[in-house]
């Protein structure tokens, strides 16, 4: 804590981690279907982008095929609902099956590095996409699977539309976000960041780099599968485009747009992406042109998302008084500028 920060306000900062719970209270303020649907969309695709960020931002693995778990789980959920399963067993079954798929595919993919890893994940996802297209008797081909979601009821409440659907999506999002935050704050999360920063050095410290990457891949697949189930409820079915490379591309774009080094950066990116797509569709019709120009600007000029930028600004602001103290207090080493009073807080991911 530094002198410029009002102690009362600073003490409240950890409460920000509980901010997602406000989503559950949102229907007290508005029950407009369009608003709740837009927020649900951001939560679902935000959760998907956050799951991908376990790989991209925390482990340094850029997957172009993450949508395969999203789609596999969406189709699984629809098929299980169609077979008469309840919402919770169907969800558990679909997420479980996708996690198993992530085990098998991850075991092959994480052996490869950088570009090769990216392209093998892309190839796997496109394989699944083509299987969905071809295997029409089961998957509905290019028409997808529709109709099953109408049967989705939980404790007698139909989840296919309106307020119950929003509340279900918001509750699952909150649970998933807390679980993911606990994950990245754990010793395992620190190991992911070690592997991302310096893979050989991690190995010299006894880290099993392959197993660590595989665990990250499986857990990212699990949360993508949860997002896939929620997407099925949101769009009333499962469609082949869910497995298409552009779905993974949108998640990568959300990470770029929001930032990869802050936990909720990808969620902010999903929100910005949604606003951009809505805005450009309404006013120009050249959505791809605007998004393409924005990607170029981010990659070539800014090189970080706005949430990353805000986080760095906040960290620099926190460090400023310490630097002043160090300069006036005859500190032994000027690089002590960024000393923080609470190292445990510093160790937590943002």
């Amino acid at each position: 804590m530094n002198n410029d920060t009002p102690p009362g306000l600073a003490r409240l900062l950890p409460l920000l981690h509980f901010a997602p719970l406000l989503l559950l209270a949102l229907p007290w303020f508005t029950q407009a279907g369009g608003t709740l649907d837009r927020i649900s969309f951001v939560l679902v695709y935000g959760l998907f982008a956050m799951s991908l960020n376990l790989l991209v931002g925390y482990t340094g693995l850029v997957s172009f095929g993450h949508a395969m778990f999203f789609a596999f789980s969406a189709y699984g959920f629809c098929l299980l609902l169609g077979a008469g399963w309840g919402v919770v067993p169907a969800m558990l079954g679909a997420v479980g099956a996708s996690t198993l798929l992530a085990c098998v595919i991850g075991a092959v993919c994480v052996r490869l590095h950088e570009t090769y890893f990216s392209f093998i994940t892309l190839a796997m996802a496109m394989l699944l996409y083509n299987m969905i297209e071809i295997w029409a008797p089961v998957t509905g081909g290019d028409q997808g699977l529709t109709g099953m979601v109408r049967q989705a009821t939980l404790f007698g409440t139909n989840l296919s539309a309106g307020l119950p659907r929003y509340e279900f999506i918001a509750a699952v999002f909150c649970a998933s976000a807390f679980a993911m935050y606990a994950l990245v704050s754990s010793s395992f999360g620190a190991t992911l960041r070690m592997v991302r920063d310096n893979e050989p050095r991690s190995a010299y410290l006894g880290v099993n780099v392959y197993a660590t990457k595989l665990a990250a891949f499986i857990l990212a697949g699990l949360f993508a599968a949860v997002a896939g189930v929620l997407a099925t409820l949101l769009v009333s079915g499962a469609y082949p485009t869910m497995a298409f490379w552009s779905t993974s591309g949108d998640a990568i774009f959300a990470i770029l747009l929001g930032g990869s080094r802050v936990f909720y950066g990808p969620l902010a990116g999903a929100l910005l992406l949604r606003l951009l797509v809505d805005g450009t569709t309404r006013y120009t019709g050249n959505t791809s042109l605007v998004l393409g120009a924005l990607i170029l600007a981010i990659v070539l000029v800014v090189r970080k998302g706005p949430v990353d930028w805000l986080n760095e600004w906040w960290q620099a602001r926190k460090a400023r008084p310490a630097r002043r103290t160090a300069n006036t207090g005859n500190a032994v080493n000027t690089s002590a500028a960024a000393v923080t009073a609470d190292p445990a807080a510093e160790a937590r991911p943002c």
Binding site: S186, P343, A347
Partner: protein, 250 residues
């Protein structure tokens, strides 16, 4: 005790290490010297598991290390600091030490335990005190001076609870003052921990003032081994490596 028995390594027709047999007693402080290309770093790479010997055995307290990957060698109690500091750029020194000290990283224990764990914090605080890094403990490593980065590199290795510590040119790229500060720190940590320390160094003043015994490599073979005084007086070593230094010292 760290033992190498008839270790050889070749790359194609280039025999980089030739039938090297060495023993480093537990708790010793030993130097490996030799001209560029003598095979010093390759020897370290063989001990650490980065490379595997074509022939021969490497044993730590009787348990074989040869053929094991670096992570398993590390778990058997061998840690290494590098010629160019190998750090975790998004961590501060304190975080790096906490992370390096945590043994359970995967499985239920790793997932359920918060970071940093109590034992990691304790070890990090000990190492920071040992290396005198208090002033920079919470500064991002990218902002540290070269000397501090090298010190953090050693600290990361120490946090892994090693029995043997390998230091590859710990003073490389440092100014005279920083070099001697590093030498004093290495000597202090060796005395405080009782570790077996093995280091590569080009500065002969440092080697002969710090090391208990010196091994001289040339073209992948042992040219001489003994106390600093014996090695400095060895005609073969003077001819192949020390040259004018030995005359000046005399």
């Amino acid at each position: 005790m760290l033992s190498l028995r008839h270790v050889s390594k070749s790359f194609g027709g280039n025999h980089v290490i030739q039938d090297v047999s060495l023993e480093f007693a537990t708790g010793s402080l030993s130097a490996v010297i030799g001209p560029n290309g003598a095979g010093k770093t390759t020897l370290f790479n063989l001990i650490c598991g980065t490379l595997h010997p074509d022939r021969g055995e490497i044993l730590l307290d009787g348990a074989p290390l040869h053929g094991l990957p670096p992570r398993q060698v590390a778990r058997r109690g061998l840690a290494r600091a590098f010629q160019v500091a190998s750090l975790f750029p998004s961590f501060t020194p304190w975080q790096s030490f906490c992370a390096a000290a945590v043994p359970e990283r995967l499985g239920v224990a790793g997932l359920l335990s918060g970071f940093p764990r109590q034992q990691g914090r304790q070890r990090a605080d000990e190492v920071i005190a040992l290396l005198g890094l208090d002033a920079v403990a919470h500064t991002p490593v990218e902002q540290l001076s070269h000397g501090d980065q090298k010190m953090v590199d050693i600290g990361i290795a120490l946090c892994a609870h090693p029995r043997v510590l390998l230091l590859d040119e710990p003073t490389a790229g440092m100014g005279p003052e920083e070099r001697w500060h590093m030498v004093e720190t290495v000597r202090r940590l060796w005395q405080a921990t009782g570790l077996t320390v093995l280091f590569i160094e080009h500065d002969m003043d440092i080697v002969f003032s710090v090391a208990e015994d010196v091994t001289v490599l040339s073209y992948g073979a042992i040219l001489a081994r003994g106390t600093p005084q014996a090695v400095r007086a060895d005609p073969g070593v003077i001819r192949a490596y020390l040259g004018s230094y030995a005359k000046e010292a005399a």
